[in-house]
């Protein structure tokens, strides 16, 4: 008894959308929360923000970035009608949102989906939403239209972290009345945004993508540090005060399994390559 994929839409080489039937997640869902999915037995459980949802259909739409084996496998091996073994959620806490006025959402790659998710909540409260959608390069960047419905203006920026940071600095410099910056992506990126938020003394809410293997902080793998306090991204997060989050510690922890993840992806790509060759041979015959 799994969770059927209702729709898969490939956006480009790096991103795709997955609409999954998981009505249980939506009964109590609040903006900013996420789900954890496990595609199959023996798979790896991964946290993904709820990019979009449809309460009448009971479906959640996930924006997935191809990062490692699990996300690549989902892209090439799973299609409409297939089932995911597990969809857990909602996980995390929706932060205490208020109408503060002018809000800048800034995402980087997958992080755009996270700020969009939270941004919908901010928009409902009457905030004026501005959106800078950051991407590593032009080839993988997505259309601003994906995120535009909540924002009074949206700018797609690409060319790496520094480039997006410049855009953020320019925005805040011009818009001195910016009350809140919400950022999400990778901690390396969020750390740079914090620099801007700090200089301009703007409140900063940021998203901690920690290694997470259960939805209830059981294992402590999702530990994050805030001004010396230990918190858990699954229980207390994923949104934290950007002025307090220890980005370097998070970067360090996120690197724990990098070598293993590379190895898993390499093996999977080899497997795909073999299959390609095999089917090419068949075609020739």
């Amino acid at each position: 008894m799994g969770f059927p994929i209702l729709k898969k839409e490939v956006l480009n080489d790096r991103f795709y959308l997955l609409e999954v039937h998981a009505p249980h997640v939506l009964k109590k869902f609040k903006h900013g929360q996420f789900v954890m999915i496990l595609s199959k037995k023996g798979g790896e459980i991964i946290p993904l923000t709820v990019f979009n949802y449809d309460k009448t259909k009971g479906s959640v739409t996930l924006l997935v970035e191809v990062r490692g084996k699990s996300t690549k496998e989902l892209l090439v091996r799973f299609g409409e009608g297939d089932e995911l073994k597990d969809v857990v959620g909602p996980v995390g806490i929706s932060p205490n949102l208020k109408n503060v006025g002018k809000v800048l959402l800034v995402g980087y790659n997958y992080g755009n989906a996270c700020v969009y998710n939270l941004g919908r909540g901010l928009k409902e409260l009457g905030n004026e939403i501005h959106f800078i959608a950051g991407f590593e390069d032009s080839g993988s960047s997505l259309s601003g239209g994906l995120f535009a419905d909540i924002a009074v203006d949206i700018k797609v920026a690409f060319g790496g972290i520094k480039k997006v940071k410049e855009e953020v600095r320019d925005f805040v410099d011009i818009n001195k009345d910016t009350a809140l910056i919400v950022s999400a992506g990778i901690p390396e990126f969020e750390k740079e945004i914090e620099e801007v938020a700090d200089v301009f003394e703007v409140d900063h809410l940021t998203h901690a993508s920690a290694i997470m293997i259960d939805p209830i902080g059981l294992s402590g793998s999702d530990k994050v540090f805030l001004d010396g306090d230990v918190k858990y991204a699954s229980l207390d997060g994923p949104w934290f005060d950007g002025h307090k989050l220890d980005y370097d510690a998070l970067i360090q922890r996120n690197n724990i399994f990098v070598e293993y993840e590379k190895e898993a992806l390499r093996r999977f790509e080899e497997e795909l390559e073999k299959e390609r060759k095999k089917s090419a041979r068949k075609k020739r015959i």
């Binding site: 997640v25 798979g43 259960d214």
Partner: protein, 475 residues
């Protein structure tokens, strides 16, 4: 009547895989009794009328009654008698510390240094025989009462409560946050000690009674107390006390430091030992690992680490004799190559410039008598600091609470550890209709004790559903 023969000394021992072989596989290393051995062992039991083994079993199984059935080669009946008191005979036969429970008080031990009947091995035998035989195993249940009970947590306490409630005719739905049912029996105890087929079989028997298990449901998030209260006539909280504690020394944030729960969950729940071929969750292999702790969880971490081809050390601040794990288990891991450092206390985890663990600094301890008459206390030996080089530190030093599932229950009395030791003798909390049992009540104990809590709570819940009476006993 025939004269009773006391076979005090010819106890049949559990056959084990040899250490060299077993440390290379996650398959179960205790192989179980063959039929002839089991029957022979069963005949060592003299079937005491007032059996001293029963009161020292936390689940108070009718031990001689089912052993008699094994003598008669009626394994189905033996298993049925076990299940009158516990739905987890196959599990408990494997993981109970029997030498401190039933096997500590066998009549055969009362004279001439006699050896106890191998009760654990026989319990496992009865359950496994029924499973492997494939014979249909039906259990009776009372007619449907129309009452509904929500059980929070599909671990030993919750599953046990669900089983006894379903047998009484109540409809039970279990909510479990993880992707699989079983709780600590799944994510904690390694398959080398508990064959997953045995666990799955006993959970399936519970489901066969009509119990529905909803995995992927985080109580407090997916569904809240408010929803449950409206939909169910009673609630049983059996969410355990599962949050890995840390040792509390500098260096805990370094790369390579794990809680026991993370280390074990990766391997047991997500099958990281099959990485990268058949599983996608990684776990380091071929490293130097130091496990900190002296209980069952520490042993489970050692067993697991050895099988990942790690050089594996244990540090514990007390002695082997004063540890809470079984003597036999220390022997087993030592045979497999674990290096055991007794009377050794970690004081700091040391890292390199990249933030990776490179060693653990420890001091030697000595045991001094406790003035208050408790367990002897460990005391540091001056100038005994030393470093054990390692890449990984696994902290198996106990569990903390995880109140997510019950923190939104209005006015619920929670103790200072955020657990529910506030329940009364019938497992009632101070909130009408809400019961609790297992580790969430006692903070961390054995599987069998959680099973007992579940059973007793089911009885109290049944009574509440029938009478509607709620008399929470204030302390």
């Amino acid at each position: 009547m025939a004269k009773i023969v006391y076979r005090r000394h010819d106890r049949n021992e559990m056959p084990l895989m040899p250490p060299e072989k077993r440390k290379k596989t996650f398959d179960e290393y205790a192989l179980g009794f063959p039929v002839n051995v089991a029957i022979d062992e069963a005949y060592r039991c003299i079937l005491c009328k007032k059996a001293p083994c029963i009161p020292v079993c936390p689940a108070e199984l009718d031990i001689p009654k089912w052993i008699e059935q094994i003598q008669k080669e009626n394994m189905v009946e033996a298993y049925r008698i076990i299940r009158d008191k516990s739905p987890f005979g196959a599990v408990c036969g494997r993981v109970c510390p029997q030498e401190r429970q039933c096997e500590s008080n066998c009549v055969l031990m009362f004279k001439d240094n006699g050896l106890s009947v191998a009760i654990g091995a026989l319990e496992r035998f009865a359950a496994d025989t029924v499973r492997i035989s494939g014979l249909p195993f039906e259990e009776e249940k009372a007619p449907e009462t129309g009452k509904k009970v929500a059980v929070l947590g599909a671990g030993p306490a919750g599953l046990s409560a669900a089983y006894f409630l379903a047998k009484r005719g109540h409809k039970v739905v279990i909510y479990e946050a993880l992707a699989e049912s079983g709780g600590v029996m799944r994510y904690g105890i390694p398959p080398a000690r508990l064959d997953r087929k045995a666990l799955d079989f006993e959970i399936e028997l519970i489901e066969k009674l009509g119990v529905e298990i909803k995995t992927d449901h985080v109580v407090g998030q997916t569904i809240t107390y408010g929803d449950l209260k409206d939909e169910y006539d009673a609630i049983f909280i059996g969410v355990g006390s599962g949050r890995g504690k840390t040792i509390g020394v500098p260096g805990e944030g370094l790369i390579g430091v794990y809680t026991a729960i993370e280390f074990l969950t990766r391997i047991n729940l997500y099958e990281a030992f099959k990485f990268p071929e058949e599983a996608d969750t990684p776990i380091p292999r071929g490293k130097k690992v130091v496990v900190v702790g002296g209980g069952f969880t520490a042993v489970d971490c050692l067993i697991t680490s050895l099988r990942l081809d790690n050089e594996t050390h244990l540090v514990y601040r007390r002695t082997r004799e004063t540890s809470s794990a079984r003597d036999e288990e220390w022997d087993h891991v030592a045979e497999e190559g674990a290096i055991l450092h007794w009377l050794t206390q970690p004081v700091e985890i040391i890292g390199n410039e990249k933030g990776e663990v490179v060693g653990i600094k420890c001091i030697k301890m000595e045991l001094v008598p406790d003035e208050k008459g408790g367990r002897p206390r460990p005391k540091p030996v001056p100038n005994s600091e030393h470093i054990i080089e390692c890449d990984i530190v696994v902290q198996a030093v106990g569990q903390g609470p995880n109140p997510l599932a019950y923190q939104d229950i209005p006015n619920l009395k929670i103790d200072k550890w955020q657990n529910l030791s506030t329940v009364d003798s019938r497992y009632r909390t101070n909130v009408e209709g809400v019961f609790a049992g297992g580790d969430v009540v006692n903070g961390g104990d054995t599987v069998v004790r959680a099973i007992r809590h579940g059973r007793d709570a089911a009885e109290a819940i049944d009574e509440y559903l029938k009478t509607g009476k709620w008399e929470y006993e204030e302390e």
